[in-house]
Symmetry: D2
Subunit: 394 residues, 4 copies
């Protein structure tokens, strides 16, 4: 694994847990973790349960006893690491967004296609597909229970940078993060809605905004928390915020649905509110990541006087992924979206099948992000989204 911060910790728990919960044909060994700071990566290896550590990601690729490389770095290094790992015959799991630019993503898709020919697998880490309630939404749509999809409304609301004194962490710098709320959390709702509906976003009209344009430089950060320069009373050194704070857009899906999207880090009080509602001609579903064990489902085929949105507690043995967990009603946490991701990835590797979401799926999301950014730059003009030619999993 490369990276040991928020995503590194989340992935590590998943690698530790996956074989303890699921009965799989292969077992993960946590061989080597890589990070830039020797002391910190050593500490992380010890705490997170890795056998060894390094500061050079090429060590992961050169070792023969390593089969899988898990890329958890910021987006600016995804392409280089993933392409090299695939070329060396390592199966690659790459965090989302796939890359910081469409061009990089295209190169990665090409690398994945070459690797696929020799049985090497590549997967893009849109972990929310693995939330059981999201997988159940997908099943309901796929089985026709919602009929023709008419509307999608998806928001991903956070508020961790509402304070203008919150520092300029790497997620607020375009060269490292590619974009702001758009790529970080907007990418999730783009992928999730394409996955659940089985439709792709055909075109968008967008507005983006950077509400706070200058911020103090950071002195330390951890997860999404950070402290700012200037704590000693001196005026802090500041820098320019070069990414969006918020992005909103309307879209048409290629199956005829209308959609609205919003990704923001300025929704005061909404810590991590990924909410999706989908309305079809025969039913509707609604989901909220802050209550990720629940799915609301409206079935219009019920008798009129008994219709209503029902709260399904997605903890039953016949719900996706849940037979491996606790008895009904005992909820699971955010982290196990990753545990399920690792399960599916390991199964694909073991079975010689292609994992989903593919790098092509990741490119498709990247193309939407790019269209949103271009539309926003061009006065919200309608911008069509290129379709990745190869079939993707959505």
């Amino acid at each position: 694994m490369v990276g040991y911060a928020f995503m590194g910790a989340a992935h590590s728990q998943a690698w530790r847990t996956v074989n303890r919960v699921f009965d799989l044909p292969v077992r993960a060994r946590m061989s080597l973790i890589c990070g830039r700071d020797t002391g910190k990566v050593a500490e992380a290896a010890d705490r997170l349960g890795w056998e060894a550590h390094t500061t050079d990601w090429r060590d992961l690729i050169s070792r023969d006893d390593i089969d899988i490389v898990d890329v958890c770095t910021p987006g600016d290094s995804h392409a280089e690491i993933a392409i090299a790992a695939l070329a060396a015959g390592k199966h690659v799991l790459c965090e989302k967004p796939l890359a910081n630019t469409v061009d990089e993503a295209r190169l990665m898709v090409a690398a994945a296609a070459r690797a696929q020919a020799s049985g090497v697998r590549a997967m893009c880490g849109f972990n929310y597909r693995r939330v059981p309630a999201v997988a159940l939404m997908r099943e309901l749509v796929a089985s026709g229970r919602l009929g023709t999809i008419r509307h999608v409304r998806a928001v991903y609301l956070q508020d961790w940078i509402v304070d203008p004194q919150f520092p300029l962490v790497w997620r607020l710098q375009k060269d490292k993060a590619g974009s702001g709320a758009l790529g970080d959390i907007g990418a999730h709702i783009i992928d999730l809605t394409q996955y659940v509906t089985g439709q792709r976003i055909a075109g968008v009209s967008a507005v983006t905004e950077t509400f706070v344009k200058e911020r103090p430089l950071p002195t330390e950060s951890s997860g999404l928390a950070a402290s700012a320069d200037g704590a000693n009373g001196a005026a802090p050194a500041t820098g320019q915020v070069t990414v969006d704070d918020a992005a909103i857009f309307v879209a048409r899906l290629d199956g005829g649905a209308l959609a609205t999207y919003e990704a923001t880090r300025f929704a005061t009080g909404r810590r991590n509110a990924l909410r999706v509602e989908i309305n079809g001609s025969l039913g509707s579903v609604a989901f909220d990541l802050e209550r990720l064990n629940e799915l609301e489902f409206f079935d219009a085929s019920e008798p009129g006087a008994e219709q209503g949105f029902r709260r399904i507690l997605v903890t039953e043995g016949n719900h996706p992924y849940m037979s491996a967990w606790w008895p009904p009603g005992h909820i699971i946490g955010y982290e196990h979206s990753f545990t399920h991701e690792m399960r599916d990835f390991l199964l694909a590797v073991a079975n010689g099948s292609d994992p989903a979401p593919s790098f092509a799926d990741g490119l498709q999301v990247q193309l939407v992000l790019d269209a949103v950014a271009r539309s926003a730059e061009l006065g919200s003009s309608w911008t069509e989204v290129e379709r990745v030619p190869d079939p993707v999993s959505v």
Copy 2:
């Protein structure tokens, strides 16, 4: 009053009730109701409590003992009736949307301005401003509790025409209704969010859609319900739907906030879900018309470990309008948004002040509707919204 259908019944209950609940300097007498069908209007007068009835709205204007004309007809006749009534010195309450076109709305604003000079009042019936929880939202924003407004997201979701066999009622015909979901329910969320935030929509980028383009002709209708032609087994006669089924748009408010709007009649399972959330730098509010006695409020000035969206049950004596009602916790219904509207209108008439929303407010909404429609026609291009020059109440 002109009109005796859904809005006629709702306004009638308000006129009957307003003086029974509120202590006002004037009392409403329900003198004369007007409708096109003699039998039906006679029945309505008897049932709804009007002293007399007529089929000619000019009778309302010619009678000296009538001071107020309440216009509850479809939008295509608003301008003619309201302008004539104002010219005759009658105070006018006109249902929303103010008119079917911007041009008509401008004429009505001009008429209201002329009438105002002689102490005659004109009000546009955006009744949801009078929901106590909405008025409380307004107070929270106006008192600065939310800080700088960053985000508005507003939806008005209904589902009464999801069935493609639902007939072609007047609300689905452009010549009568002006537009579809956009003007009928989109107008509400446009006015409501402008009112609550005190900001006007500066520009929009929009998509509209008519999912079902042809429908059977109606044989009878009541409220939002109707029956279709062809019930006897013969193929029903059909007609073209000439309005939008759904409208979605992104917007910028003139105070710097980003906003998303959605109005649709195709959100299966959402009967009347007007939902608004507003995020400011210091707090947020959220409202749902299906739970109109509640307001969710997040106050970011609370200590971190105790922050949360609180559900305020807006039934306290110190909540807007509520001192006149039941003890705390005893909820009121949708209909009393109109009762409160009549209260404010009567107070304005009695006090010689201008009621809000004014016809100018109604025009401002009409200009947004027009910009949305034009943007949708021109490939979602960014479309600025003209500002009504005279100060409006928002």
Copy 3:
């Protein structure tokens, strides 16, 4: 009508409204209202819409043109007025609880039985039976959708006397009110659960408590609000609270279900939270008066992966009472439980049928209240509840 306070106002709006909304064979005329204070009853008559007023309730009985007497006084005068009115051939609607004691209630049942022989009707005003969601619960149970009832849990939580300085209003005095939370709000959940389940409470074990035993004397009161003596800085005169602040009890229903009940005026933050949940072998329902337009329903016959409590918005035309109201999704308020009560009462009078709940139903509730009070006095000992011999409506 006798009484013009909280219940008087609520009943008046119902009498004003019932014929405006429902198409009934008879029309109510609001002839005469009675109250002890001439000035206040005159003001009430004018505001609430009564043709005349009096300070002597016997005037209601002596007038030939009056057919119905509606008793809205405190419980200590119910028996005298109702019995006299029935003897005079007036149909009687009597507010709940039917009386302050079992003995009085027995006399009233006997009077109602005598009156019934000559076609005179008597009804006890448990208005919450007429909330559409409650009536829908009853239908679901009656049609077998819940199977065998296993559990009932019912609470009625208020908080209007949490402040120990809240004054000693009549509802806190045993001679006027009979009991405290028990008879005032406990009576509601007793009747409601017996009605919905169709089972009677067979025995109880109870605890009651008066948390604040002495309070300042009141100077003025309105609805549930009041001001206390001593506002001028002097130590207020105080008096003993002679009723319970809270009552809790466990019970067995005669159909085999277990039940818990709680009635309190000390549940801080719960303004008017009447909540009922019923679990049967095939399904469950849950209701909350603060969201009285909603019913939660769990149907265990659904496929396992799709089961969940569904929120039915009880505003459809095929829901009890709702065809007369607004389109789906437009909610109604607390007050219309009374409007529906008057509808059913008028229909019974017009059709010559017995209205429900009967005085016998009222007595059955009174017997439960009495058993609860006795159990609490005798160290929570199990106390069986006498069954009213004549068939009652539950």
Copy 4:
């Protein structure tokens, strides 16, 4: 560890996880797991991550390199194992309920007291105390934010044996489980409410019931799921259910509060609904285990018009236990109540302090369970609860 079923799996994940998330002075090694079936315990050891396995729990006690014994067996063997382990100088974590009888629990408390003298620690596994929202409730009460506690209402509702064909698993047999819903889930709400309020239950009046008295014998079981005999079409062999299906009781706490409790396995649709509400003179809290990352808090010191129950998402760094986890808004699962339990136990062992809940706390719960059972047998007569003399942690 002894036991490898539901609790064994839950505790194993906690032992695996605790040092990966929390920075502690000691590290857990998962040395030896014990179970009665060699094949199954071998499989469990491999899957759950234990170094070795045995079928004789005495092996745990005889090994010098084992410091801690975690008892996850059914209640009938708790006393024997725990007392032996303590006598051998092993720190003991014992699952709840502490024992099947008061007498056994007394012996265990005595053993724990003897062990304490030589620095050996004993803890009873009421894991729900470690849910962050529950710990936050405790903090709010302890800091006086709720004022004087007036009411407690606690339910623990499950529905896994509603089907009368569900087999007679060990949890339905008195000799193995001690009691039914009462000891299994009732024990949780008894301990939780005593812990949060800091008050002990002083007396109870109870009703218990066994709705289904005979069930098919089981053939296989896992977690709370099981299959029944007779699947091959033959009439299944059946046996008597010897425990309660449901228990309800009213109680007085020693600080003056009234309380209602309900534990049942027959609440159709409620999978694992542990719900607690506590009302104090200054505020209230409400909690639901199915949404265990949330706490509702009502603060009566807020201005009247802004009061409301606020939903605190208990995922902030300054919430109990949460600084070790994910960024705000990223929820955790049921299982980490155990992870937190192990953290606190390890800290107590490392720091030489007494962990809570102690065995005395466990005995106190056992005394309540016993009083409930006796009251139910004696016609719900009021039954006082003996107080454990030594100070306990509640």
